[in-house]
């Protein structure tokens, strides 16, 4: 074997860090990284309570839904991705027992008449409230729609979905949170372990 061939591998190794660093730099700024993608965040804090009247003039208080998994969906009539996913929420409200699951819609529209018209058009079968900046701020800032929170049976926010979400993923979480406490505790333990793992 020629002498030059033997030293090729070490030379490449030497250059590897220099080749990798630009790749990493560009990966962070790559067009793919800049694309708009929905995000999902694990949360573990008490859901801020609210008490408001819905479009049907019924008083809705979040704490009264303890014992149920609540899907809290911030939306607006002008938000295309919101309108796309809302029929699925209606379907889920039908599918899952109302004793275990409840969808609550919070419209961030400026005018209630538009919301009433849209709720009728979409035949929403769950309560819809008119939101405002105070509610948005209480939930950590709702500055872009849709935003959906999954609240467990104990009133704790477990997931926050921003943007047009993977509905299969949300459905899976709803089913997981609807399981008996012993199993929830097991999954919660897994979550905690994953969250505490360095780099997660």
């Amino acid at each position: 074997m020629p002498k030059n061939a033997q030293i090729k591998v070490p030379r490449l190794r030497l250059l590897l860090p220099f080749l990798l660093v630009p790749i990493v730099l560009f990966a962070e700024n790559s067009p793919l990284a800049a694309q708009t993608v929905p995000s999902r965040a694990r949360v573990a804090r008490a859901a801020p309570n609210f008490s408001r009247v819905d479009l049907r003039h019924k008083k809705i208080e979040l704490t009264s839904y303890r014992g149920k998994v609540v899907l809290l969906n911030f939306w607006a009539t002008w938000c295309g991705p919101c309108l796309t996913e809302m029929p699925t929420f209606t379907e889920w409200q039908n599918k899952y027992s109302s004793e275990k699951f409840q969808v609550i819609g919070i419209s961030m529209d400026d005018a209630a008449p538009d919301v009433i018209a849209m709720a009728n058009k979409l035949k929403l079968n769950y309560p819809v409230l008119i939101g405002d900046e105070h509610l948005g701020i209480a939930y950590g800032g709702v500055l872009g729609l849709p935003v959906t929170f999954l609240i467990d049976r104990h009133g704790k926010i477990r997931e926050r979905y921003q943007g047009a979400s993977d509905l299969t993923d949300i459905k899976r979480e709803i089913e997981a949170f609807s399981t008996p406490d012993s199993q929830v505790k097991l999954w919660y333990l897994v979550d905690v372990l994953i969250a505490s793992y360095p780099g997660s």
Binding site: A34, Q35, E133, G141, V142, L143
Partner: protein
């Protein structure tokens, strides 16, 4: 040995060049441009990156900044000094926009922004841009918020004001 030295040196120079702030910023800006698939028809030359607007705010250009989307989202957080003029997806919002700019000179620098939804889904930014363009304004810039105002402005640590 000499060859090895040359390889290391050239790689180091390349690395230093890539790490230069200007280069990184250019990369960020080009990466942050909308894909050709977005459904807005605003020319790319009229788009304004958030970092560029931030520089404007600290400079002497003094743009008129108008939020053309949701009032509720504006009340939650908005760019300091910006004004709410109404959702440009509605006729009332467009009317409000026309009234606000009616007394301005056509070369006034106007920055419009919304950030209610991902760029390609925003119902407000394009009508606002087209309205101002139709009125003859020559310096209209649309703030490019790829995901939304929260992700592309607030979460970057840029200053915000609250209230209506």
């Amino acid at each position: 040995m000499k060859l090895r030295f040359l390889q290391i040196t050239s790689a180091a120079v390349l690395l230093a060049f890539l790490a230069m702030p200007g280069t990184t910023m250019q990369a960020q800006q080009s990466a942050a441009m909308p894909s050709p698939l977005t459904d807005t028809t605003i020319p790319s030359a009229a788009l304004l990156q958030p970092a560029e607007l931030l520089r404007m705010l600290h400079g002497s250009e003094n743009p008129l900044i108008l939020q053309v989307g949701s009032h509720v989202l504006y009340a939650e957080a908005h760019i300091p000094g910006s004004e709410y003029v109404g959702a440009s997806s509605t006729s009332a919002g467009l009317q409000s926009l026309r009234e606000r700019v009616s007394s301005l000179k056509k070369h006034q620098l106007i920055v419009i922004y919304c950030g209610c939804c991902p760029w390609g889904h925003c119902p407000n930014i394009r009508p606002a841009y087209e309205q101002l363009h139709a009125l003859g304004f020559t310096q209209v810039r649309a703030l490019y918020l790829a995901d939304n105002f929260g992700a592309d402005w607030v979460n970057k640590g840029y200053t915000v004001a609250k209230g209506r």
